[in-house]
Structures are given as C-alpha cells and as structure tokens.
C-alpha cells in the first residue's frame, strides 16, 4: 500500500480493519472488546456519580429535607452497587487489561476470544437489569444486601438487583479465567514469568481473586433470592438461620473484591512510575510476589467487616491479625515505587501526576484501614464516616486515579492520538483537590461520631459536610474534563508515534493504533522488563 503523497497515510489497524455495527458487536478482537467495555463502564460511572451528587446534595443540610429516608437509602445503595459492580470491578481489567494483556505477553489475542465477547454481553445484560432496577425504584439494602432486611422486610427489587449483580459477576469470572489461561499458556518465546511487566502480575493476581471469590458472591445472592422467592430460608432466624452466615459468605467475596478493584490499579502505577523516572522498578521480584501475596492474604481477612456484628471475639482476633498482615505487601509496593523514583529523572506528565497522587492517597487510605483493623478502634468508628472516607481514599483516591493514569498513559497506543497535556495536568490537579476536599473532612466527621447511611445529622456536623459537598462539585468538574478532551483528541489530537513516552514493554513496539493481530511477527523476548537503561533517557513527547 505505497502512498508517497500524505504523511498521515492510514495503515490498517484494529480500528479501521472493518466497519459497521456487526464488526463491533460480533468482534472477538480483544482491543475492540476493551473499547466496548470502556464505553459501558464510563456510562455506569456517570450513573453512579449522579447518585453520589444527590447524596452530597442531601447532606448539605442537617435535616433530611431533599429526599425521604427510604429514598436516601436507595441513593446510597444504588451508588454503591453501580460503582462497585459496574465500574470499579471491571474498570482496569476489562478495559486496559483486555487491551494490553495479549500485547504485553506478545500474543495475538487472549486464550478465549469468544468468551471475552460473552463476558461483555453478560456485563451488558447485568447492567441493563441494574438500570431497570433503578428505573423501577431501586433497592435500599445498601450494596451489602444484609439479611434479614433483604430477605424478609423489603418491598423493593432485591431479587432483580441480585440477579443483575450475579450476571455481572459471571462476566468478571470469565475475564479472570481468560487472563489466567492466557498468562500461563500464551507468553511469547523468551517471555518468562520473571520478564513479565508488573501490570501482568497484578492482573494475574486479580484474576485469581475473580475466579475464586466471585462464585461465593453468586451463591450468597442466590440464597437471598431463594429465600425471598421460594421460602428456602437458609438465613431465616425462625428456622434457626444465622444472619451472620450471610455476612460471612458475602464478605468472603466482598473483601477480596476490594483487591480486585485495587490490584490492577497498582499494576498501572507499576508501569507508569518506572517510565517517568526512566528507571527500572526497584525490587521487581518483591512487587510481583506482593501482588500474589495480596491476593492470597486478602482472602483471610473478611470478617473485619463484622467485628461489631456479633461474631466471636476470638475469631475477630484472628481476622484482625490477618488484616494487619495484608497491609504488608501493599506497603512493600509503596516502598518500591518510591525507591524507583529516587534518583530517577522525573517527568511530571499527566499519567505520572495521577500515579504519584495514587501513591499518596492509597497510602492514607491503607493506613486508615489499619486503624479499622484494630478491634478497639473499630468499635468506635465502624459504621461512621471514617469507614466511608477510608474506602473512598482507596477506591477513588487510589483506584479511579490509577484508572485515569492508565487511560492517559495508553491513550496514544489505543487511539493513535495524544490528548492535550496541559488540560490533562489541569484535570489531574482539579481531581486531586476536589477529592481531598470531598473526603478528608469525612475522616473527621467519622471519628467525631457521624454515622454513615443517615440522611440527617446533628447540626454540629454541617460545616464539614458542606466542605465535602463543595469538594464533590470540584471533583465532578475534574471528571468531566477528560471526557471532553479525550473525545476532542480523537479528531484533533496530535498523532502519536509508536512510542511517544519512550516506554518499555512489548505493546510500545507495535504501531499506534496496533494492527488487528498486534504484531507483524511473534516477538522473541531476550531482555528483562523495564529495560530503561537501554531506552532513551528522554521522554520523546513532553508538554
């Protein structure tokens, strides 16, 4: 295809290889499926965000004056369910993971491309049911579905919500299954486990959790459904059922689920920090094994969500002990990222700003998790805004920022275009400020006694609540900015080359956007990961 005329001759890539709805809706190309997921989860992010804004609006004043109590219960329940199951859980694995895992290991696609497409359709079906649940009144159980409230006392669409999440869970399982088999069986020649980018280790660890944890959520929700529909009351106290049994089964998944949410983000950070420090990751083996450590230890801590629910204090001590232990591998990662940056040549690009923000905010969130792991402190702050602040520091300050970091870092590879760097940095700063303004006051609110899931509160808490709501509007603006300039860049963004960041990794060795089969020839890997010593000291595209 010799075109000597235009510089921007359009080579065949995965985007222009075929056109039309069918070529997208029936695609088995992991890159196209990643984009299908991108559009879907972005949609749900805004739905979840919309509920968040309503919550913050209600909490501007001490009285419950915007909505009724039952409606408020629905707002925070739907906010949680949508954000967790339809945004956070799929975000990095299904978008960035789907796009990059085959490329990073030098394969043409995932092991099971059709199952990949099926996972997206399951996500859409689950999402559709969730939307229908919302439109017909939602549920007010909290995202946690505790029994006997969810089984015996509510007239809301508990079963519908449970089914939608069950189906979305299946989508998650299939993604994890695909990644496990792909990483084990489809690495390019020379790509040993020790040469894999840490993003792969993180997604592998995530996949382990998806595969082993999600089925227990599935059975928990099934049992709630069976009790509501068929009188098969496994948790029914009238038959000697134990509501705590539900909580054990629910949290057996839902605690590791938070690691499903954060591990891929850590993987993103592990790629970005070395690139913009122009240095190899410090302690590669430790970071890799820490990912596995988090996945395994994460399954041993779930009852720290139940310390005040009535479990035996001896059991609580065991879970408290493991909860302290699980912080260790996370801390190892933070040390290693920091050590990577030490004496590196730092470039403050948008992805780097988000990654650095991640390290700080995740550390704060993680540290406050240790406070919660302490039985004595937990009695005081559980079910208060302290917990809300803790998990939002990790999920939003950590995970969402890592997701944005990854989207900015790999945007050139995915689309072939650069986003406008000035706007990128502005948005990152706006998000950082908005985030801290929204959630830091909530730590204080929590330890001074404001309970969570209440739509009214004593007047003395108003000032901090107003600050928090103000912060949330800044945060909302910050999230809107990338929507605008990413779309803008598709048409007007500068064309990115194969490797605008001068980054290490197989994905940067192919064109931007990549061809449908990723590589012209199967690569043979003879070098270690993060070979920044062999790459240019300068980042080609800056500013």
């Amino acid at each position: 295809m010799a075109t000597a005329t235009t510089v921007t001759a359009e080579r065949e890539n995965y985007l222009n290889a075929s056109y039309g709805f069918r070529s997208w809706l029936l695609t088995t190309d992991h890159k196209r499926i990643a984009l299908l997921y991108l559009i879907s989860i972005t949609f749900f992010f805004f739905i979840g965000g919309f509920f968040a804004l309503l919550i913050r609006l209600e909490l501007l004043t001490p009285q419950g004056d915007l909505v009724q109590a039952d409606t408020y219960n629905k707002l925070f329940s739907m906010h949680g369910q949508v954000m967790i199951f339809f945004f956070l859980i799929p975000a990095v694995p299904a978008v960035l993971g789907n796009f990059l895992v085959p490329m990073m290991i030098g394969a043409k696609d995932l092991a099971f491309p059709r199952i990949n497409l099926l996972s997206w359709y399951l996500f859409i079906i689950g999402g559709g049911l969730m939307l229908y649940t919302i439109l017909t009144g939602g549920v007010d159980t909290g995202w946690t579905f505790y029994v006997p409230l969810s089984t015996a006392f509510l007239g809301t669409h508990v079963v519908l919500a449970a089914v939608s999440i069950f189906i979305a869970g299946f989508s998650s399982i299939l993604t994890g299954l695909n990644f496990i088999v792909t990483i084990h069986r489809m690495r390019a020649p020379g790509m040993t486990w020790g040469r894999m980018p840490l993003f792969l280790w993180s997604n592998y660890a995530t996949a382990i959790i998806q595969v082993l944890g999600t089925p227990v959520l599935a059975i928990s929700l099934s049992l709630v459904g069976l009790e509501r529909l068929f009188h098969l009351g496994v948790f029914n106290p009238q038959l000697g059922g134990d509501p705590l049994l539900f909580q054990h089964l629910f949290w057996f998944y839902s605690h590791p689920a938070v690691y499903i949410m954060i591990l891929p983000g850590m993987g993103v950070v592990s790629e970005i920090i070395p690139c913009f420090s122009r240095k190899r990751v410090f302690g590669y083996e430790f970071v890799a094994l820490a990912s596995i450590g988090i996945a395994v230890l994460g399954f041993l801590v779930w009852a720290h969500h139940m310390f005040v629910a009535g479990i035996s204090v001896y059991s609580a001590m065991v879970f408290s002990f493991f909860s302290y232990l699980v912080a260790v591998p996370s801390a190892i990662k933070v040390f290693n990222w920091t050590a990577t940056m030490y004496k590196g040549k730092i470039y403050y690009t948008t992805p780097m700003l988000y990654a650095m923000g991640f390290i700080g905010l995740f550390t704060m969130g993680g540290m406050t998790g240790l406070f919660l792991a302490s039985l004595g402190v937990d009695v005081h702050v559980t079910d208060t805004y302290f917990v809300v602040a803790h998990f939002h520091y990790i999920m939003v300050g950590g995970m969402v920022m890592a997701y944005l970091a990854g989207m900015h870092f790999w945007w050139p590879k995915i689309t072939g275009r650069m986003y406008p760097e000035g706007w990128g940095r502005l948005a990152a700063l706006t998000i950082f400020i908005g985030f801290n303004l929204t959630f830091f006051p909530q730590f204080i609110l929590g330890w001074t006694g404001m309970p969570r899931r209440y739509h009214a509160y004593p007047a003395e808490f108003q000032v901090l609540n107003v600050l928090s709501t103000a912060g949330s509007t800044v945060l909302a603006v910050g999230y809107l900015l990338p929507m605008v300039y990413f779309l803008w860049s598709l048409r007007y963004g500068k064309e990115a080359g194969d490797n605008p960041w001068g980054a290490a990794g197989l994905e940067w060795k192919t064109t931007s956007p990549p061809p449908t089969y990723n590589f012209e020839e199967t690569p043979v890997v003879t070098w270690e990961a993060y070979n920044y010593d062999d790459l240019p000291k300068e980042v080609p595209v800056v500013g």
């Binding site: 496990i180 084990h184 069986r185 382990i208 082993l212 227990v216 705590l244 054990h248 057996f252 399954f299 041993l300 779930w302 009852a303 479990i311 035996s312 204090v313 001896y314 059991s315 065991v318 879970f319």
Partner: protein, 94 residues
C-alpha cells in the same frame, strides 16, 4: 503426547467406587459416635480422589499450572470452611 487411559483402569476405578459406596452406606449403620462423620468424609474423599485422578485425568496432566489450579480450588474451599468455623466454634467460649 496425550495420555490415553485404558478401559481396564476405568473399569477398575468404577468397581472400587461402587464398593466404597456400599461400604459407606453400610458403615453408616454402625454406631461410631463422633467418628461417623470422619469415616464418611474419608471414604468420600477416597472416592472423589479416584474420580479426579483417573476419570478427570488429573494423574496424567503434565501441565504444572493446571495441577496448581486444581489444588488452589480445594485449598480455597478449606479456607472458607475453616475460617468461618473459627467464628461458630468459638462463640460458646465467650
């Protein structure tokens, strides 16, 4: 390349499984007290192991990762059962 298990092995396993089934049914009529469940689970695990090793070819898998997958599955089930029972068993201690 692909290991083919002989019909003879399959029939032998089948016969052992049938015998173990008769055994576990018969043993349930004995008064073993707290050991009843232990014996029943041991026999069930023997049966299960035969199914996994021979019918499901686990004995002949040469991909280590697949063996790791199988072990992980059972190990995680044990985590669920054991860790949850720490609550139920120790509730009476308080």
């Amino acid at each position: 390349m692909e290991h083919i298990v002989s019909a003879k092995i399959y029939f032998t396993v089948w016969a052992v499984l049938m015998c173990l089934t008769v055994t576990t049914a018969a043993v349930s009529y004995l008064d073993l007290g707290a050991f009843s469940i232990v014996v029943a689970l041991i026999i069930a695990t023997l049966k299960g192991s035969l199914v996994v090793l021979f019918f499901m070819h686990a004995k002949y898998i040469n991909v280590k990762a697949t063996l790791l997958v199988i072990l992980a599955g059972f190990f995680w089930l044990i985590i669920l059962l054991l860790m949850t029972m720490t609550d139920y068993i120790t509730r009476a201690w308080s």
